[in-house]
Amino acid sequence: MVDIGTVEVIPPAEVEDVELYHPKSWVTKYVFCQDAKVIAIQYSITAISIGLVALVLSWFIRLQLAFPGTFSFITPSNYYQFITMHGMIMVIYLLTALFLGGFGNYLIPLMVGARDMVFPYVNMLSFWVYFLAVLVLVASFFAPGGPTGAGWTLYPPQAILAGTPGQDWGIILMLASLILFIIGFTMGGLNYVVTVLQGRTRGMTMMRLPLTVWGIFTATILALLAFPALFVASVMMLLDRVLGTSFFMPAIVQAGEHLKYGGGSPILFQHLFWFFGHPEVYIVALPAFGIVSDLISTHARKNIFGYRMMVWALVAIAVLSFIVWGHHMYISGMNPPFGFFFATSTLIIAIPTAIKVYNWVLTLWRGDIHLTVPMLFALGFIVTFVNGGITGLFLGNVIVDVPLSATMFVVAHFHMVMGIAPILVVFGGIYHWYPKITGRMWNERLGQFHFWVTFLGAYLIYFPMHYLGFIGVPRRYYELGETAFVPPSAGTLNVFITAAALIVGAAQMVFFFNLIWSLFKGKRAGGNPWRATTLEWQTPQTPPGHGNWGKELPIVYRWAYDYSVPGAEQDFLPQNQPPAKRMPVAAPS
């Protein structure tokens, strides 16, 4: 099988070099480009731009909650449209696209030591189909009746019935956009997986891959298997809406009139949606897990604790995420044994997840911790993820979920665990790899300011929200009005949360200013400012040129975490550094 034993440097030869596509004009170099690095930037800019739209929408939501009835442009219909588009954009068009399309495209070829993705043309198509999906989504804002206001879960029958905002065009454009997104993602996902499988350079075994690649790889497989469920659900609902089939539509009498529908099942949609929806949480979380592992190891100058366990835990979480979707449907009503099954499987996920958290903490233990900006974000992630995860343990139980499910507690939970936590990693990752992508270093002070405002601000927003949920403040409501069980102080708390949300949102401008300003005025970063071991920091040029590597592909001799190596010249050994000659090598156990 695997032959280990000699430590001689492998002579650079016999690596079959791929034929690279060479751009011939400005258009093929920057617009219809097949270079994964350019595609990554395109994906990231598009995702972040549409994400900013969703951020503004969240401000509108918060303004309405704090000052109900004050703003004339926030009608009940608009409010539901804002909620729907905020959720949909953040989860799918921002986080999924940014982690897999952005980080995946940039990092996979570089980290595995490839010149590019294996199918560059399909990769280019992937971005442009995604871009089209975003355009269709944006178009729904301008369509007659506006975007859909069905909630990001788009539950039928209300999603396509009159009375729901955006029933004319919004819902059709939304479903069309999702279908396009999934087609585009599938094209990209094929690339990410096959590149990891087949594009690895010599010496790069799976168990030598950085955990970032493992995280993105596992998440992509999850996404490729789970997105078809959303695809099926979207196609079926589109047929219900446009052609009048009744896949999800039961017989309905509306305003005294018998609608043409009959014989469909709304619960069927919920099963399909959450069969996609729960893995989606891990599609966003697993890349974050991977990236955070690398940030912590690099900035604490210590090898990752329990590398194998980290890999196994990723795989275990991926497998388990397919059998827990029912915990989103407790209040839809279900057979008690099913509830028991889903609650148990949900709680079991805590085990591999806890393994990862322990391993991050144990990596920090007695490490040489550098509180750089990427490290601050990584640490912020651990704390936030644990917080959000623990409320998840509450909600995983049927009897706790039933009273809390329709309250602000759930809003606080999922924003902590799959909103704030992954976004902190996105920031950490951008700060970490920015010097490689641009060749320049950002401003440290502004970065620290950005971290503290975002991190503390997120807690000011979401911690009080848990209490609102406990006292029974419902989510999704446009206005509470006079409610006996909600004390007036809840209104004051809402004003506080809104103030925090406005400040945190505005503070993100500092981040964008820092990135753009540093692009022109930042200090030259050099090839490897973090003294990191992984291959992307060992490229001959910074930013990496077309084809990533020089004449020869790198050869990998060791795993990705040789930090603080005793007796080493520096305190780390890059993955492509050959071992000292004639050193005995441990036989594989």
Partner: protein
Amino acid sequence: MNITFIFLAVVAAIVAWWLSQQRITAKPWLEAGSIVDTGASSRPAAKIGLGLFLVIVGSLFALLISAYSMRMDMGEWRPAPVPKLLWLNTGVLISSSGALQWAQIAARRGKMDGVRAGLLAGGVFALAFLAGQLWAWRQLDAAGYYLTANPAAAFFYLITGVHGLHLLGGLVALGRTMDKAWRAVTAGELRLSVELCAMYWHFLLLVWLIFFGLLLLTDPIVSDSGLVSLICRIL
């Protein structure tokens, strides 16, 4: 969701087998040095890519068929009749797959004439299958089972439609392969393309056979026997 779970179990088994080949119990921190075998497959990337794509398409069809069978159990289910024409269509699709298999064998043996004949026959049979499916749609429609008539009919149109679209997409790839086949001089240049087409066709045939089998099992006329209803209950 049982069909989806069976599908996922098969995928999980493949992943487990693959992981077992990747030395996931290795201790990479102890293994500085050269490792010659990275665990990558010796097959071409295009083949791995198509295999992965088929897993995704498989997931799509498993979910569609799962939704269909779940809906069946939810009460108020009135099945649609199975057009007899589907038997003929099944035969045509098998012939199409067989022709491409023949082309594949010819490509391996280096016989260009066989490759061309196989590809052409495969394409013609596939077009005939699509025409037959459209004809079956018309028959159902004429019998009063139009798209919006009831969920069983809607599922039939949806699943056959999605299957047909995938075959249509395959025909584009087959057309490009045929274009190459009439230009290329040696069968060696064509071998990979022909193999990919054959793989895709066999897969779509398998999907069709599973769906057609399910249709027959749940047909009220056929499913009177005890064994059939037992299988239905399991699925």
